[in-house]
């Protein structure tokens, strides 16, 4: 690799992410890596392993669970943590559980209670003061403005107009008691970079990213997969087998699939490059609250 002294963009992005992860470990009191089992999480976990090799990453993984993820995600989650030699913490908001909050009956409340509230509760419960997340600046326009070290008040709020200047690769990790930092080591990666890295490093990802015949229904212009018996079918709705895959993975009733025949990584990347819609297009969350959906959610404490 060093026949030329110019690093490729992937090498630079990897080195930058590793540098960021190590800075947090060196300066934060009690860091944790948010692990959602998606492809970005898979890349993050891989980078963490690389950053500390031959030591295992010196922090646990945290999955803020909604109980509504795809079954295939739960399978990979437990395996990946075990392979990395890391502790896996799973948190489910007890109030959401008790009230039976679900994406079918409760709409935006589902995301708010399970994810936003659940995340805050989990961070408070274990006193984590720094949490790694796999968000990228190319995902959404308020993300494009977010710092790599993103500060949250004691109540986990984000103030976009009062972000700390972030120069060179110098990160100020100092904070007052009760405040916490969300850290995004792959901020500067694009969707294509993530895919290419997965291919180059042969990182295991959830099979749902590859096309296969799966039972689906079409609803409000989205293709939803009937992943388990909790999926309430409307009158006349019959699950139909279609060859589908997912570009992002979240709660299965909220995540739209795309019809596809792409069964290998190369084919998936090919489709990604030729596609004409953005990655988050299949996510209902961005469309809440007009154009500023994500920005508003982040101010309330969403990742």
């Amino acid at each position: 690799m060093t026949d030329s002294k110019t690093l490729t963009h992937i090498q630079r992005l990897e080195a930058e992410a590793i540098h960021i992860i190590r800075e947090v470990v060196a300066e934060a009191g009690n860091p944790v890596m948010l692990y959602s089992v998606g492809k970005d999480s898979a890349v993050m976990l891989h980078l963490a392993k690389k950053a500390f090799y031959p030591s295992p990453p010196p922090f646990p993984l945290l999955h803020v669970d909604t109980t509504w993820k795809f079954r295939a995600m739960y399978d990979l989650r437990d395996k990946a943590a075990k392979d990395a030699g890391m502790d896996l913490l799973v948190y489910q908001n007890p109030e959401a559980k008790e009230r039976g909050i679900n994406p079918f009956d409760h709409g935006p409340l589902h995301t708010d209670m399970w994810k936003t509230e659940g995340l805050k509760q989990a961070l408070d419960k274990w006193n984590f003061d720094a949490a790694f997340g796999g968000a990228r600046r190319d995902e959404e326009k308020s993300r494009a403005k977010e710092r790599i070290f993103s500060f949250r008040t004691a109540s986990h709020g984000w103030d976009p107009k009062n972000q700390r200047p972030e120069l060179w690769n110098l990160y100020n990790a100092r904070k007052n008691k009760g405040e916490s930092i969300r850290v995004f080591p792959i901020s500067n990666w694009t969707e294509l970079d993530v895919w290419q890295y997965i291919q180059l490093e042969q990182i295991e990802i959830v099979p749902l990213y590859f096309a296969e015949k799966r039972p689906t229904v079409e609803r409000d212009g989205m293709l939803l997969m009937v992943d388990d018996e909790r999926f309430p079918l409307k009158d006349g709705e019959v699950p139909m087998d279609r060859s589908i895959r997912f570009r992002t993975l979240g709660c299965y009733p909220l995540t739209g699939a795309v019809e596809s025949e792409a069964a290998t990584l190369s084919e998936v990347i090919q489709e990604t490059l030729l596609t004409t819609t953005s990655e988050r297009q299949g996510r209902a969350i961005d469309k809440d609250a007009g154009g500023a959906g994500m920005e508003k959610k982040k101010q309330e404490g969403y990742f």
């Binding site: 291919q199 190369s266 500023a292």
Partner: protein, 640 residues
């Protein structure tokens, strides 16, 4: 929009469709260039970025549909697409139609991946522009061909030069609106060249473009500018040498981030190589200690490397067991960086609260964090006229040159030689906000020539002779709160117990050591710093030091606490409400202050910041001075 599919640069779609593996192979080996665009909305900056994204297919249909509807609703381009809406991501920005913060955007061409930082152009967002520029290899400075070189062009060029960007592109935009006139272009270039020379920009590349029509963006020359013989903007961006490959040319430097110790047999030093290359067998020096060793291996998850270069994150093991930890720098043994504790620096102030001359701030440089004080600026630089102006402090968005003194030696290089070892941030010790960014210019001679003289009679032996534990009893509170009275009582009681003490009193010190100081904020900070230094010498001599000063600012009390060994600084808050102190008015000062005859009086027109976690609190409303003294004595005993 022109027909982009005719542009060879973007003719990748066919390859993706026909041979994805070949495409990925090519993409994998692309290099990365980070650049910024400077200019205001009127210069067509957002339109240019929008075009680069659009032409490289980085705008998806759903985003384009949202953009079209937003443009009609709140856009400023009539029925045309308003690309500014794509780039301005925050709700406040879209509402106000201005760019507030830096946005990062991404696009690819066949040769490179690009990260573009879109920076706000207004003067009040200078700090954001400096932030965006700090990671850039290149700057595109936009000029409206109809307007020529403006004050903001000069400001942007100066900031880019200040932050060390070597590649400057002068993009003369909106050529379509001046009929692609060569004379107009040449005149602008000549004017800019004269200015660039004046501020030290050695070279720049000028390109006539139209972001709106697409001229000279991807291919050149456009048929509208047959007189132009240079590269298109994209061609130029693809061919410029990136900074990381230049960094690889220098001497080896790696700031240590983390010591990797999975077991007793492995001890590695992890970091990002900032300059040069390293391989097993290389002689390296640990700084600031100066100890040397040899590199044993370059460890990565993918196996040991034969050689690693600037820009890579690695873990090094050494042949010898030498002391090395976070904050140290591993460097080429025969060409190490300097170590110093006094510097001249260029500082960009980034906080709403002005700089406090003499106050201690955290200074972070690479992986080193030390306490640092900034002296009164030598001058401030007017970012528009570039004149040097006299300055007492620096306020938000002001740039100045000042001396910096650190409490511990820093491993550094001038910023011109190394961004990593020359660039730093200042952090407020109380709010933890990043308040400034700076660039070290050089170390001051005096710091290289003054060394700490070790003495044989240690502070422990001084204290042992006096048979006591040294302490600083730091009394703080409003004027008239009773600090001097109580401190005096405490000292009398300690004297009766055969303790060796000394009382430093505010008024007394101002008659001698500090008689050159007034009551401005900067002077008050300096007053406390000197008292801290005197108290430090006295505790080293084994004494129990009592100090009675208003010492109104938390940051300065914290500064003194950090000068004194752990546990020896006892902060005593004499908690007397303002009404009570004013009622007492022993020296008649409150009356004068209320009448406006005394300026900067604590509690009246200058703030008092009470301690957050004082070691001892005495309440003089409920306690007599004697009771307060007894309370303090009980808390600090046994003192042996």
């Amino acid at each position: 929009m022109s027909d982009v599919m005719n542009d060879p640069v973007y003719k990748t779609e066919a390859l993706i469709a026909e041979d994805i593996d070949q495409y990925l192979e090519t993409h994998q080996h692309k290099t990365m260039l980070r650049f910024i665009t400077c200019g205001s909305v009127d210069d067509g900056k957002s339109t240019l970025i929008g075009r680069l994204l659009y032409d490289s297919k980085m705008i998806f249909e759903d985003q384009l549909a949202a953009l079209e509807s937003d443009s009609k609703r709140v856009g400023t381009q009539g029925q045309e697409i308003d690309f500014a809406l794509l780039v301005d991501g925050l709700a406040a920005e879209r509402e106000q139609g201005i760019t507030i913060d830096v946005a990062y955007r991404f696009f690819n061409t066949e040769k490179r991946k690009f990260i573009v930082a879109d920076c706000p152009g207004h003067e009040q967002y200078t700090r954001n522009m400096v932030t965006g520029a700090s990671t850039a290899d290149l700057a595109v400075i936009l000029i409206d061909a109809r307007k020529g070189v403006l004050i903001q062009t000069r400001r942007h060029s100066f900031l880019c030069h200040l932050i060390g960007i070597k590649n400057i592109v002068l993009a003369v935009n909106k050529m379509d609106l001046v009929d692609y006139d060569q004379a107009t272009f040449d005149a602008i270039v000549a004017e800019y060249a004269a200015f660039a020379k004046e501020i030290g920009i050695e070279s720049f590349t000028a390109i006539p473009i139209s972001g709106f029509k697409g001229d000279n963006i991807t291919t050149a020359p456009s048929e509208n500018t047959p007189w132009y013989s240079g590269p298109s903007l994209v061609e130029h961006l693809e061919s410029v040498e990136v900074r990381s490959s230049l960094d690889a040319e220098g001497y080896f430097r790696m700031p240590v981030q983390w010591v990797n110790r999975p077991n007793l047999d492995f001890r590695g030093f992890s970091g990002l190589i900032s300059n040069g290359t390293v391989k097993p067998g290389d002689a390296v020096r640990v700084l600031p200690s100066g100890k040397t060793s040899t590199v044993k291996s370059v460890v990565t998850f993918d196996g040991d490397l034969e050689e690693a270069v600037a820009g890579q994150s690695v873990t090094l093991t050494l042949e010898d067991e030498i002391d090395c930890s976070r904050g140290n720098v591993l460097a080429a043994a025969d060409a190490p960086p300097e170590v110093a504790d006094q510097f001249e620096a260029t500082i960009v102030w980034m906080a709403d609260e002005a700089m406090h001359v003499g106050r201690g701030y955290w200074l972070k440089l690479a992986t080193q964090t030390v306490s640092a004080t900034v002296q009164q600026p030598k001058y401030e630089i007017d970012v528009n006229s570039l004149e040097h102006l006299a300055a007492k402090t620096l306020e938000l968005n002001q740039i100045g040159v000042a001396e910096i003194i650190t409490d511990k030696p820093l491993v550094f290089e001038p910023y011109a030689d190394s961004r990593t070892l020359g660039g730093f941030i200042l952090v407020d010790k109380i709010t933890n906000a990043t308040v400034a960014a700076g660039m070290l210019n050089f170390s001051l001679r005096r710091s290289q020539n003054i060394h700490w003289q070790p003495t044989d009679i240690t502070r422990e032996s001084h204290a042992g002779l006096k048979n006591q534990t040294p302490r600083v009893l730091w009394f703080t509170g409003l004027s008239g709160s009773g600090k001097s009275t109580i401190a005096n009582e405490v000292e009398k009681k300690l004297a009766l117990m055969n303790r060796h003490t000394f009382l430093l009193d505010g008024d007394n010190i101002r008659h001698g050591l500090n008689k050159d100081l007034g009551f401005t904020e900067a002077d008050r900070i300096e007053n406390i710093r000197r008292i801290g230094e005197v108290a430090k010498l006295m505790v080293d001599a084994g004494l129990i030091v009592l100090t009675a000063f208003i010492s109104p600012f938390r940051a300065e009390r914290q500064m003194v606490r950090e000068m004194i060994p752990d546990g020896e600084f006892i902060e005593i808050f004499v908690d007397t409400p303002l009404e009570v102190a004013e009622e007492r008015d022993v020296k008649g000062l409150y009356k004068k202050a209320r009448e406006g005859k005394l300026k900067n009086f604590t509690g009246i027109d200058s703030p008092y910041e009470p301690p957050v976690e004082p070691d001892i609190v005495v309440n003089t409303v409920e306690m007599t001075p004697e009771e307060a003294a007894d309370h303090i004595i009980r808390k600090i005993l046994p003192l042996k």
